[in-house]
Structure formats: structure tokens, C-alpha cells
């Protein structure tokens, strides 16, 4: 996207303090995001404050935990005023002088503050189990984060992976079938291998046959959706014993799981969620701290240069894509072995595409993608919780909110996230 950057219009170098040079478009964007934040503040004042009073009670501990925290009781009106003022202050500052480098962060934080205000308003006079929502957030973010990670592995080596959705769905299907016959662990292994196999198809066609990579990804999605739906209606319906897999239990990690809030959130989850932590950490380490990672990234940025230094471009791409596919297949197991133990047609319901968005949102970085996945996971579980509370906003609009926020944030800040330079381009040795 560098070609569209405009030249700087003003410089603050003379002040001695190192100030970032702002371009006209950056100033404009700061203004717009300031207005958005002020609008959020006005919304809180106009709609939330007049319609709520009393005390909002947030439950912080589940029943089975060793350390019980008292439920948090918040006076609604005064806390809503405080949050509205905070939003107004942030928005005003952003509008007048901008937070520059931190604009993105502040805009994101404003949406967070707004969400808090909405939760306080919706809970006014009722009780809301915050902790169960946070636990669900971490669980729901897992397939999204892993899907994004699958994409990152492929794309860092220069192979676009639109087929994440297909890999998730394939993993979910074989996971449940093998899990029903041979047990959960075999199911998890089968799911992982299925993802790897689909990725092998991607690698062969992308690297050897140099087929347009977007075509392959689209094909993988259609192929897997068709095949799993066909097999479900033709085989699983008549053989329900093959669609009844054991579910992985939540395993509390000793000591850590006893920490209030954080414990149940992060350390009392299933093996698939723990796998996600390990994979995010491992991929970050291997991509950015090892020779393999350097080679993978260099092949993704400039395969010709990497080739001239003796790196085998096909080999690097094959490995990265197959690892990526295995991560995707593993993530697919979350839908069946990690939650309900049975497969339904199109059970992933577009999670792979959300993962794709999380990958771009997180700028092709595992930690960034995890952050984006947490936001999506949070809003999914918030939507479910709000459905239980009696509030005058139609559920459909709440469900839209995360997607709207994503658009606003992507337009406001990471709009210029840059993919690996050779992403999507087949490499032909000369």
C-alpha cells in the first residue's frame, strides 16, 4: 500500500522533542476518530443514562471455585456518567491534537469503554455472571485464533490461504468420526492430519502447478463443505454411532486455576484451548527467533533473494503450508470434540473467515491475531449473555456490533497493514 502514502506536509523536528511527522490524511483520520469517540460519549449520555438506574451486579466467581469473590455491585447512573466523561475526554483530545502513534490503541480502548457502559446499562437492576462470559470468551476465541494462525503460517511463506474455513470444517468432521470410533485423542490427531492433508493439496497446486492461490482456497472451502455435508446426510444420519464423540473435559491447572477471575478464564479450559496457547507461543518463537522462521519470512517477502542465498523456496513453502493446515485442522476439532461432540452440516458457520479477518486485523502477527480473536470471542459471548437479559435493543443489532467495530477500527488504523510482499505469487525458478 506504500504507493498511496502521501508526502508529509508538516514537520515538528525543530521543537527538539522527537515528534512524528503527520501527513494530511493522518490528521484527517485523527479528526474522524475523535468525532467517532465523541459520538459514543453522546450516545451513552442520550440513551443509556436516562434509561437506567439502580445497581448493576456482576458475578465474579463461579460456584466451584476455591476463592469466592463478592459480586461487584456498581451504581449505574454515576458510573455511566464517569464512563461518558472519560469517552468525551479521550474523544476531545483525539480531535484537538490526536494521540498520534497511540491513536489506534485509544480508539480501540474507547470501544472497550463504550462496551462497559453498555454492559452496566443492560445489567441495571439485575445480576450478570461476568465470569462465565469471560470463560466463554477464551473458549470461543480459540478456533478464531488458531484459524488466523493457520493463515499466518501459510502467508508468511507467501502462500495465500483462503481455505481456512475448509480446513476447520474438515478437521471438525474427521475429528468427530474418528473420535466416535477410536476415542477423543485419535479424533484430535485425525483432525490435525486432515488439515495437513488439505494443506498438502494447497501446497502441491500452489507450489508445483502454480495455480492461482485464491482459486485453490475457494475450491478447498466448497469441496470440504460439499463433501462433509454429503457424507453427513448419506452416512452419519444412518450411522449415528459415528457422530457421537467424547468431549474433552476442562482440566484445571493446579495453583494457576485458583487465581480469581484469571484462573477460571485461562487455566480451567480444554486441551484444545491449551493447545492454542502453546501454538501461538511456539509459532511466534519459531517465526521470529529461529533460522527456519527467518527463511520462511524471507521466502514470503522476496523468494528470488532467498533462492539466490540457497534457500529452497518450494521446500520452505511446503513445510509452512502443511504446518498451517495442521493448525487449521486442530482448530476444527474445537467445534466437535471441544464443545458438543457431534457434527452438523457447516458447523463452523464462517469462523474460518472471521479467522482470516483476525489474521489481517492482527497484521499477520500471531499475538496481534490472538488479540483480534479475543475481541471476536468476547463479542460472541456477550451477544449470548445479552440474549438472556431483558433489554430493549434487538439482539440482531448487538450481534452486528463486533463487525461494525471491526470495520471502523480497520478503516481508522490498521488499514495499512501490509501483507508479506510475495503473498499469493507463485515462484518460478529462473
Amino acid at each position: 500500500m506504500s504507493t498511496f502514502e502521501k508526502t508529509p506536509v508538516e514537520s515538528h523536528e525543530s521543537t527538539g522533542k522527537r515528534t512524528r511527522v503527520l501527513t494530511k490524511s493522518q490528521i484527517k483520520r485523527a479528526r474522524i476518530s475523535g468525532i467517532v469517540m465523541l459520538a459514543l460519549s453522546a450516545f451513552v449520555m442520550a440513551f443509556f443514562i436516562p434509561n437506567a438506574e439502580g445497581v448493576a451486579t456482576f458475578g465474579l466467581s463461579g460456584s466451584g471455585e476455591t476463592i469466592q469473590l463478592d459480586a461487584l455491585a456498581i451504581p449505574v447512573t454515576s458510573s455511566l456518567w464517569a464512563l461518558a466523561m472519560l469517552l468525551a475526554a479521550l474523544g476531545g483530545t483525539q480531535f484537538v491534537r490526536g494521540f498520534q502513534r497511540r491513536s489506534t490503541l485509544i480508539l480501540g480502548a474507547s470501544f472497550g469503554v463504550f462496551t462497559m457502559a453498555m454492559m452496566v446499562w443492560a445489567t441495571a437492576g439485575e445480576k450478570f455472571s461476568l465470569i462465565s462470559m469471560l470463560v466463554a470468551t477464551v473458549s470461543r476465541c480459540t478456533p478464531i485464533a488458531l484459524g488466523a494462525l493457520s493463515g499466518i503460517l501459510c502467508e508468511r511463506s507467501g502462500v495465500v490461504n483462503i481455505g481456512i474455513e475448509g480446513m476447520l470444517l474438515g478437521g471438525a468432521f474427521t475429528g468427530v468420526v474418528m473420535g466416535s470410533i477410536l476415542g477423543g485423542w485419535v479424533g484430535l490427531l485425525a483432525a490435525t492430519l486432515t488439515g495437513g492433508l488439505l494443506a498438502l493439496l494447497l501446497a502441491v497446486l500452489a507450489v508445483n502447478f502454480r495455480v492461482d492461490q485464491i482459486i485453490i482456497g475457494v475450491v478447498i472451502n466448497i469441496l470440504v463443505l460439499g463433501l462433509t455435508s454429503f457424507l453427513t446426510s448419506q452416512v452419519l444420519v444412518e450411522n449415528p454411532q459415528w457422530n457421537d464423540a467424547p468431549i474433552f473435559p476442562s482440566i484445571p491447572i493446579p495453583v494457576l486455576s485458583d487465581i480469581p477471575i484469571i484462573g477460571p478464564m485461562f487455566f480451567n479450559q480444554t486441551i484444545i484451548v491449551y493447545g492454542m496457547y502453546v501454538l501461538i507461543g511456539a509459532v511466534t518463537f519459531f517465526l521470529f527467533r529461529t533460522r527456519w522462521g527467518l527463511r520462511t519470512r524471507s521466502v514470503g517477502e522476496n523468494p528470488r533473494a532467498a533462492d539466490s542465498l540457497g534457500v529452497s523456496v518450494p521446500r520452505v513453502r511446503y513445510l509452512a503450508v502443511i504446518y498451517g493446515g495442521m493448525v487449521g485442522g486442530f482448530a476444527g476439532a474445537w467445534f466437535t470434540l471441544g464443545t458438543v461432540g457431534r457434527f452438523d452440516e457447516n458447523i463452523t458457520a464462517g469462523t474460518g473467515f472471521i479467522g482470516l479477518a483476525a489474521m489481517i486485523f492482527g497484521a499477520w502477527n500471531p499475538i496481534g491475531a490472538l488479540g483480534a480473536a479475543l475481541i471476536f470471542g468476547f463479542s460472541e459471548s456477550l451477544e449470548q449473555k445479552f440474549a438472556l437479559l431483558d433489554i430493549p435493543i434487538p439482539g440482531e443489532f448487538l450481534a452486528m456490533a463486533p463487525y461494525l467495530v471491526t470495520i471502523v477500527v480497520v478503516a481508522g488504523l490498521v488499514g495499512r497493514a501490509r501483507p508479506p510482499a510475495a503473498d499469493g505469487q507463485p515462484y518460478e525458478k529462473q
Binding site: I214, V219, S229, G350, I360, I407, V410, A411
Partner: protein, 390 residues
């Protein structure tokens, strides 16, 4: 025609979409094979693999052949089957054109689903709100409303891409989800919901806004409607726009190399916004055709994956408007035959998606077909999309 940057370092020569003439294609051996033999072998191979999958689920060879006979019967076996094929192909032409046009400008429109939904909803709204208008006013009005609905849903990602660099893939995916939810909400609102119903279903479109069925006078079961000619007209228009106008040249130049196009004085911003708006309008017309020509109402999920199928159709048609029409007819035939196959041979229609996916793969990778059948052809794979369009 080509454009070169002032310093002479970047030269772009957008594909003029003509290629060798049809006559030449038929007479030159390699082109003849690429153009006809490869797609035919691709379809054949996909059907063979599909047959193996049917047999793996416990059918005998004879039953499998019966299923395929039903597939053929249901797609081209009778006038009614052909009508069904054309009916299925109509929305695919629109969504295929939508994706293909965006590809030509280096953009990836995954947002077909949302655009189909918004177009359809606005068309339905115009279809039941106005009463007492004559057909020649009401129908065009509803169609235009449908196109506008889709165009708005395409304009947003185009504007954001052009003005802020927000990636169109993310924005269109998000807009799909927003559209799904918005439709769920609208169908339960007093504005849309049919009186006396609790389920989400819209009021019925007035007869004066329904696309007339073309062959209903022969047999009321023949559903092919006027939308087919709208779709063919749209294909002709997009071809003309892309390959016969300055605007189309700019689209293709930006698609080939946005930097060079910018150096040459073209407005990349304008192109992105315009292309996405037109692409959205095309997908919106797909939804319009469905609700005005087929369903006469809107219900949840009436987009039925048309936006995603449009990606496959555009890829199979190599982003060429006439290729898109051919690909949509093939997919339409498979869908129509698949319905017949499911009803008469008890083989699930989902198999059709598998066959369609395999056809796209084999056409995109002719080298695979050449390797299997040992035919010598031009085995270079097609590059249609541009990665992330960056």
C-alpha cells in the same frame, strides 16, 4: 494500448479481453485444446471422482450410473429441465460478473452474500410498498431499488479501501455478517413482516413488480423468468464497459498495476469506489432476480450462498464476462440436475458442490489434466486474482 510511468520503469499492458478470435481459437490446435478439450476433460474427471465418492458411500456401479443419468435428465433432459438450468444460472451470472469485475480491478469481492441480501431486501420493499402502479413502471422501479441496495453494500468497502486503505476482504466479510443480521431483524419488523405471521417472512411482492415467467404459458412449472435476459444484458454491458470504454481501461490498468495507473494520471480512488459500487449493484441484481422472479418474497438466507458460488463462477470463467455466462450455465445445470438426482436417485445434492469444486480445480490447473490424459496443451495455470491486491 499500454501505459508507461514517466521514468519509463513501469509499463503495463492490460489484457484487452479479446485474445485470439473465436475462429482462430478453433483452428489453432493448442488453443482449441485449451478452450474446449480441457474444460470437457475437467468436467469428465470431476464426474468420475464424484462417482467414486458415491460408490464409497455404499452404492453399486449401476446405481451410480443411474444417479448420473438423473443428473443429465434433470439438467438438459427436457424443456422443463432446461428451464430449471437457466433459472439456476441466472443469479450465478450476476454474482459471477460481480466478482469478475472486481478481480479485473485487482479487488476481491467476498461480499457477494451481503450485496445479494441487501439488493433483494430493497427490491422486495419496493415490490410490496407501491401498489396500483402499472408493470412497466413498478417492475423497473423495483429492479433499480435492488441494484441500489447492492450498490450501497459495495460502495462502503470501495470507499473505505480508497480513502483509508481498509482491506476490502475484511470489510466485505464483515458486511456479509452485518447483512445476515440486518435481514433477520428486518424480516421481523412491522415494515417487512407479513401480517398474521410470527416467523420471519416478508410481505408478498405485488404482481406488477414480479419478473414475468417466460415459459409459464407452456407449463406453469417452468420458472425461468425475465431475469435471465437482464443477466445476459448485464454480461454484455460489463464486457463493453471493460473492453470498449476508457473507464474500463482504467479499471484494468489499476488492476494490473495501481502505481503505474496512478503515474499515468488515473484516479485509483475513483476506480476502487466505482468498481465496488458496480460489483455491488450486480450482486444486488442477483438477489433482486431471486425475490422478484422466483420467491415473490424474502425469507432468511435467501442469498443461499450465491455470493460465494459467484467466486467459483468468476474463477471458472476466467473473469471474462462471456466466460462467466458459460460457467454459470454449467453450474446452473449441475444444480438443476442435482435437485433431480436427489429426488429420483436418492443421492444427496451436496455432491454437486464437490463436483463443482473439482471442475474449478482442473480448469485452473490444466497441467493436471494434461498429466492424466497425456494431451499436449498450453499447461500454464491461470493467474486471475492478485493475492491480497496489495
Amino acid at each position: 494500448m499500454s501505459i508507461t510511468s514517466p521514468d519509463g520503469t513501469v509499463t503495463v499492458e492490460p489484457d484487452d479481453g479479446r485474445g485470439p478470435s473465436f475462429f482462430r481459437r478453433l483452428t489453432t490446435a493448442t488453443d482449441w485444446k485449451t478452450g474446449l478439450v480441457i474444460p470437457a476433460l475437467a468436467v469428465f474427471t470431476a464426474l468420475v471422482i464424484g462417482g467414486v465418492i458415491i460408490m464409497l458411500t455404499g452404492y453399486s456401479l449401476a446405481e451410480t450410473l443411474d444417479a448420473y443419468r438423473a443428473l443429465l435428465q434433470g439438467s438438459v433432459g427436457s424443456l422443463r429441465a432446461i428451464s430449471q438450468t437457466l433459472t439456476e444460472a441466472t443469479p450465478l451470472i450476476f454474482t459471477g460478473l460481480s466478482v469478475a469485475l472486481a478481480f479485473r480491478a485487482g479487488l476481491f469481492n467476498i461480499g457477494g452474500e451481503g450485496q445479494v441480501l441487501m439488493g433483494g431486501m430493497l427490491a422486495v420493499l419496493a415490490g410490496f410498498t407501491f401498489t396500483g402502479l402499472p408493470l412497466f413502471i413498478h417492475l423497473p422501479l423495483a429492479i433499480v431499488c435492488g441494484a441500489i441496495g447492492g450498490a450501497i453494500w459495495g460502495f462502503i468497502p470501495g470507499l473505505l479501501k480508497a480513502k483509508t486503505g481498509a482491506h476490502e476482504v475484511i470489510v466485505t466479510i464483515m458486511l456479509n455478517y452485518i447483512a445476515y443480521r440486518l435481514v433477520d431483524y428486518l424480516l421481523k419488523s412491522t415494515l417487512f413482516q407479513r401480517e398474521g405471521r410470527n416467523d420471519p417472512i416478508s410481505k408478498t411482492v405485488e404482481e406488477s413488480a414480479q419478473l414475468p415467467a417466460l415459459l409459464a404459458w407452456l407449463d406453469p412449472a417452468m420458472k425461468v423468468h425475465l431475469g435471465l435476459f437482464l443477466a445476459l444484458g448485464a454480461a454484455g454491458f460489463i464486457w463493453w464497459l471493460l473492453f470498449r470504454t476508457n473507464t474500463g481501461f482504467e479499471f484494468r490498468a489499476v488492476g494490473a498495476n495501481p502505481s503505474a495507473a496512478r503515474y499515468a494520471g488515473m484516479s485509483v480512488t475513483k476506480v476502487y469506489i466505482l468498481v465496488m459500487t458496480i460489483a455491488g449493484a450486480l450482486a444486488g441484481l442477483a438477489g433482486t432476480g431471486q425475490v422478484l422472479g422466483l420467491l415473490d418474497r424474502a425469507s432468511p438466507g435467501f442469498s443461499a450462498g450465491l455470493g460465494f458460488d459467484g467466486i467459483a463462477v468468476a474463477l471458472l470463467g476466467r473473469s471474462n464476462p462471456f466466460g462467466v455466462v458459460a460457467a454459470a450455465l454449467l453450474f446452473g445445470g449441475l444444480n438443476a440436475g442435482g435437485q433431480y438426482m436427489q429426488a429420483n436417485a436418492d443421492v444427496g445434492i451436496d455432491l454437486i458442490s464437490v463436483i463443482q469444486a473439482l471442475i474449478v480445480i482442473f480448469v485452473a490447473a490444466p497441467a493436471l489434466i494434461s498429466a492424466i490424459y497425456r494431451v499436449k496443451t498450453d499447461t500454464s495455470s491461470t493467474q486471475i486474482s492478485k493475492g491480497w491486491g496489495a
